[in-house]
């Protein structure tokens, strides 16, 4: 059934400014060969993300969230369907995804180099970007000399260095303590407000999703598809501890439990 559409990923920079949507995913299916079994990670997923929108994806492990991000970032091929990304994509990972042999500035400069930024401008640009995530003064530190939260700040700066239109985030704050995570939420929202970024943020934490997103998509488990969608219309800034947020997060968690239990 999922061979009906030709697989296709389209990344078009020219359309980026005129398009209303930053991401459009249409009947996307991804299958993996596991031994002689075919595992369906995503099955006919369809959704769209508007330019400048902050969308969170919640799902249990095995719901194909990471696969979805890999396809959007061009790291995996879809088996069927389409995934359109209008503009450049940057990917942020859960942890220790900085290159350990490079300094904080070196990591950012490498992203600039791979993007094609001129050598003379890289150093200054990297300092500016680290300043934007409040990491000024830590340019020469190596990743192992930084705390988990600081590493993710540098990872954020590196993603910004890629000059992306769309930021794909794969449970980026999952390994952090509560306070670092709270601070990074504020940081991320500030950067999102200041820029014209579109963010697709994957998490398994419903409260985190409701705190950050304009919209939360709940993914079903194996194979993954959008099972439920919530528009969060709470005013910003939102507090993780507010009762309104807890109510919405509670509904999402209930829905998530049903997905895990009944598949």
């Amino acid at each position: 059934m999922w061979t009906a559409l030709e697989p296709e990923i389209v990344v078009s920079n020219l359309l980026a400014l005129s398009e209303k949507h930053a991401l459009s995913v249409e009947r996307l299916s991804v299958a993996f060969l596991h031994g002689d079994q075919v595992l369906l990670a995503l099955d006919g997923t369809t959704f769209e993300v508007k330019r400048g929108e902050f969308v969170c994806v919640v799902g249990a492990s095995g719901s194909g969230k990471t696969t979805l991000l890999n396809v959007l970032a061009g790291l995996d091929r879809p088996s069927a369907g389409r995934a359109h990304v209008h503009g450049r994509v940057a990917l942020i990972f859960q942890e220790s995804a900085l290159l350990p042999w490079l300094t904080a500035a070196g990591n950012v400069e490498l992203a600039l180099e791979l993007r094609g930024a001129p050598a003379s401008a890289r150093h200054k640009l990297a300092s500016e970007l680290l300043g934007r995530v409040h990491m000024a003064g830590f340019e020469k530190r190596r990743p192992h000399e930084l705390s988990g939260g600081m590493k993710q700040r540098v990872a954020l700066a590196r993603a910004l260095a890629q000059d992306a239109d769309v930021l794909l985030m794969d449970e980026p704050f999952g390994a952090l303590d509560a306070i670092s995570r709270d601070l990074l939420h504020e940081e991320l929202l500030r950067i999102w407000r200041e820029s014209h970024l579109t963010i697709l943020f994957v998490t398994h934490n419903a409260r985190e999703a409701v705190r950050l997103g304009d919209r939360v998509m709940v993914f079903s488990s194996r194979p993954g598809r959008v099972a439920h969608e919530v528009h969060v219309d709470l005013p910003r800034p939102r507090s993780l501890d507010s009762p309104e947020l807890a109510v919405i997060a509670g509904r999402i968690t209930d829905r998530l439990k049903r997905e895990v239990t009944y598949g």
């Binding site: 995804a97 042999w101 791979l114 993007r115 601070l183």
Partner: protein, 284 residues
């Protein structure tokens, strides 16, 4: 307010910067004194054995006459010429071995067929004593410089290639995803991600390769008098023929010291790389 809090938060979570100078002095001293102690202990035991009269002085001279002999050897230019020949051979053979190993390891890593063919031979080559190549090398290249170099290369290259290959094979998949997500592919992925990530294992292979190279060179020099060049191995051989035990022991000390000195350079390199890569744990 929230931004202020996040700024204030940073210095507290940051680990304190290390003090490199004091630390390196402490480390040098703590690395040095056990070695000095071991040398003194060896000299004492040696002297005691000589004093016991177990063997006559001509068969086993004491440390004092041997060290005197070494000092007088070291004041002769010929001796340095011999050392120069040996070190030049070591450098040449080792350089060829390293270059060949890098090419072979990358081919094996990239091409599945190469892995199944050459990759499986690598383990066997590594366990084969390189001196077993010498008769082959002599028939192939005569008793020449090239034969010696050949043996050194065959000794060192498999260890270096195996080190680099295991480094490449064990690069964390996440780092490769990161590199590709940033737009690095093919050669750029190798240059910016895979090779640096494999460097600690590669340095380990280089270190082991040096030990093999030095052993192979000494064996080959003992057996091949190439182009009438005086080398350390030849000096050792002729001291043996002349029954000059003082000279023999003096040269053995030189071989030992050169081996250790170069090995410790590799250890420093290894430590430097590991510290930079954050692999030293608490020391970092």
């Amino acid at each position: 307010m929230a931004e202020l809090a996040s700024q204030l938060d940073l210095p507290e979570v940051a680990p304190p910067p290390p003090h490199p100078v004091r630390k390196s002095i402490e480390r040098t001293w703590s690395g040095l004194w056990p070695k000095v102690g071991a040398i003194l202990l060896t000299l004492i035991v040696w002297q005691l054995v000589v004093w016991s009269g177990w063997r006559p002085q001509s068969a086993l001279p004491g440390p004092w006459p041997v060290l005197n002999r070494l000092a007088s050897d070291l004041s002769h230019l010929d001796f340095y010429a011999g050392m120069g020949v040996t070190l030049r051979r070591a450098a040449l053979g080792y350089a060829i071995a390293a270059a060949a190993a890098i090419v072979v390891a990358i081919l094996i890593a990239r091409i599945e067929l190469a892995r199944r063919s050459v990759g499986s031979l690598l383990v066997g080559l590594q366990s084969m004593p390189s001196i077993a190549w010498l008769p082959f090398a002599i028939l192939l290249l005569q008793r020449s410089e090239s034969a010696i170099t050949f043996v050194v290369v065959m000794g060192a290259a498999p260890a270096i290639a195996a080190g680099l290959l295991s480094g490449i094979d064990h690069v964390h998949p996440l780092l490769i995803r990161v590199g590709r997500a940033m737009g690095a592919d093919g050669l750029r992925l190798y240059r910016h991600v895979i090779i640096p990530a494999a460097l600690p294992a590669f340095v380990g292979g280089l270190k082991q390769g040096w030990a093999f190279a030095w052993r192979s060179l000494m064996s080959a020099e003992l057996l091949v008098a190439a182009a009438n060049q005086t080398s350390i191995g030849q000096l050792l051989q002729s001291a043996g023929k002349l029954l000059d035990m003082q000279q023999l022991l003096a040269i053995m000390i030189v071989i030992f010291v050169i081996g250790i000195a170069i090995d410790s350079l590799f250890s420093d390199l290894d430590r430097l790389v590991r510290r930079r890569w954050g692999l030293l744990g608490s020391e970092a």
